[in-house]
């Protein structure tokens, strides 16, 4: 009788409509993660080499494929963007763009992880499962149309990443980086939550569309609560995007974490942070642009300067790249600060080309570091051009792209964000960005010089470097993208232009 009563009540609950096609990329990634766990628990013998990595890459490819179908749907003039799951998720060009970026991050990092895990005797499905789930969290963040969902996505992304950072638990550095990342990450998401509570208190809603509608329709008498909320939200997003002054974890965690995980952290996790930042600030809080723009201006300047200057004094290549990824975050913030459609599209272009550059860079670091993941000093790269000419050339392409040399995607990315800043009349910021780009060029050239111009006689030869198939494919793809988009950027620019985030009220 009680059961009948329960069922009678259940019928009254209106379940929200879920658009399965729109959530397909998410479901594919989560489904693949569960499939990997199932396979590993049901099979007694070890599956063929690389099975787990292949499943992960296929899942990401499928996710990108379904995203392509969605893209046709949301960019169709008649149908356009829409929300699903009771206004919790937005499906627009922006969401689809980030589904592609994050899935690419998963696929490329999984290709790097394949050989790494075997080399370190850690082979198993766990890292791939965490990677897929963490990426799904990042996609939720990019699609979120509600601050609750932003928070859930962020935590799914982060909790999996804490474990991934400490994955190589026999290495003391890996354990230490997990500890540091966890403490600071939990601390910053607590700040983010406090900020969300403030925004909720000031506007009476957590739905981004409703918040934007409220802010457009009403003039707040006391803006203290709202502005406090902005500042606290910026702490949370700034931490994930490793913007100064919330960057202190970045060098330690990037250095200590297993290198393929670092690649994932620098690509997918950073992309997700910028996705949430763009949707929440640029689109939702557009009405209060004049209040938050100065904050982002300050953070962007600090990030650009600290990232490029501190990178120079490092001797560990992974640490150098950590600081250089901080300065890249500064460049993306230059696009965010412009708060125009042009700025957003420039930031999106930057995120996509940066994903390939940084995964490639850490991919080379994975290979050069050798067994034990310990050769990360500059001396490990001495004379690499003689031992491995192809690898040295690949690395040079990534470094030049990061420095912003023409004919690479990195140059155009920097060009577009600075152009957006100039068009938004942020001349000082554009100038600082250009100067910091010059300063950081020194750092990249230092590594190139070590690879090409060091006389190997007298010095002991560095560790032997071999290039396994999976990592070779990942590096090849990254180089191809960096060079081809550097010469023919039109298509990618066209995509970025049509991926401006829209904020829809929950009613639609």
């Amino acid at each position: 009788m009680t059961a009948a009563l329960l069922f009678a009540q259940v019928e009254k609950v209106a379940t929200p409509k879920l658009d399965w096609a729109a959530t397909a990329p998410l479901l594919i990634l989560c489904g693949a993660a569960l499939l990997l766990l199932l396979i590993s628990s049901l099979t007694t013998s070890r599956p063929a080499r690389g099975t787990y990595a292949v499943i992960t890459v296929l899942a990401s490819a499928f996710a990108i494929g379904t995203a392509g179908v969605l893209w046709a749907r949301v960019t169709d003039a008649e149908r356009g963007a829409f929300t699903t799951a009771a206004g919790a998720l937005t499906v627009d060009g922006f969401s689809v763009f980030f589904i592609v970026v994050i899935s690419l991050g998963i696929a490329l990092s999984a290709l790097l992880a394949d050989d790494y895990l075997r080399r370190e005797n850690l082979d198993g499905p766990e890292l791939y499962v965490l990677m897929l789930l963490s990426g799904a969290g990042g996609i939720v963040m990019a699609m979120a149309n509600d601050l609750i969902v932003v928070f859930l996505g962020l935590e799914t992304l982060s909790i999996a990443l804490y474990v991934m950072a400490g994955f190589n638990r026999r290495r003391a550095e890996s354990r230490e980086s997990a500890m540091k990342y966890f403490v600071l990450g939990a601390f910053s998401s607590a700040f983010l939550l406090y900020g969300i509570a403030f925004i909720y208190g000031a506007t009476g809603s957590t739905n981004l569309g409703d918040i934007a509608g409220f802010l457009n329709a009403n003039t707040l008498e006391h803006t203290g609560l709202l502005l406090g909320g902005f500042a606290l939200l910026l702490v949370g997003f700034g931490f994930k995007a490793s913007a100064v002054p919330f960057h202190v974890w970045t060098p330690d965690v990037y250095q200590g974490a297993p290198t393929p995980v670092t690649a994932f952290m620098a690509s997918a996790s950073k992309a997700a942070a910028f996705a949430a930042l763009l949707r929440v600030f640029v689109s939702t809080f557009a009405e209060y642009r004049l209040d938050w723009q100065p904050l982002i201006w300050g953070i962007a300047v600090l990030t650009l300067v600290v990232g490029s200057v501190l990178a120079i004094v490092q001797t560990d290549v992974k640490r150098m790249m950590a600081y250089s990824s901080i300065s890249h975050a500064g460049f993306i913030l230059v696009g965010v600060q412009a708060a125009t459609a042009q700025g957003v599209s420039a930031a999106l272009f930057y995120v996509l080309s940066y994903t390939f550059m940084i995964v490639g860079t850490f991919g080379v670091a994975t290979l050069v570091s050798g067994k034990g993941d310990e050769h990360h000093g500059l001396e490990a790269y001495r004379g690499l051009s003689r031992r491995r000419p192809g690898l040295a050339l690949t690395f040079t392409v990534f470094l030049l792209a990061q420095a912003g040399v023409p004919l690479t995607s990195g140059f155009l990315a920097k060009f577009y964000v600075i152009g957006a800043a100039v068009d938004a009349h942020s001349y000082a910021l554009a100038l600082i960005a250009m100067l910091s780009s010059v300063v950081s060029a020194f750092l990249y050239l230092r590594i190139v010089v070590a690879m090409y111009m060091t006389d190997e006689e007298g010095a002991e030869p560095g560790p032997r470097v071999r290039v396994p198939l999976g990592a070779g494919v990942a590096l090849g793809l990254a180089v191809a993208f960096t060079v081809v988009v550097g010469i023919l950027p039109q298509q990618v620019v066209h995509w970025a232009d049509r991926a401006i985030p829209v904020v829809l009220a929950s009613g639609r």
Partner: protein, 102 residues
């Protein structure tokens, strides 16, 4: 006014939590301080929800439930990491976890 008392309680808890994270060296106590901050958020959410209409109240309370759930998951992972450090170094003092610097 009723709302301010709750917000004040939330702010005090938040400050105690932040102080705890910054001043404590013991990993477990840092975790507990983070929990304090999350609980201050919950108080704020429920208080703000009470102030608005029915729909807003549900949002605040549901959000608080989500926060509690996520906090549990986070502490699960956090304690595992603290345990990993403890097994290797027989200490949970965060100041001694300092292999990487610069």
């Amino acid at each position: 006014m009723l709302l301010n008392q709750f917000l004040l309680l939330g702010a005090v808890l938040f400050c105690i939590g932040v102080y705890g994270v910054l001043a404590r060296k013991n990993g477990v106590l840092v975790l507990m301080s983070i929990e304090l901050i999350l609980n201050s958020v919950n108080i704020n959410l429920v208080a703000f929800g009470m102030m608005g209409g029915d729909a807003a109240a549900i949002t605040g309370q549901v959000f608080a439930l989500f926060v509690i759930t996520v906090a549990a998951a986070e502490v699960g992972v956090g304690l595992a990491i603290v345990l990993l450090i403890y097994r290797n170094r027989t200490t949970v003092d965060l100041d001694e976890v300092d292999l990487m610097k610069g």
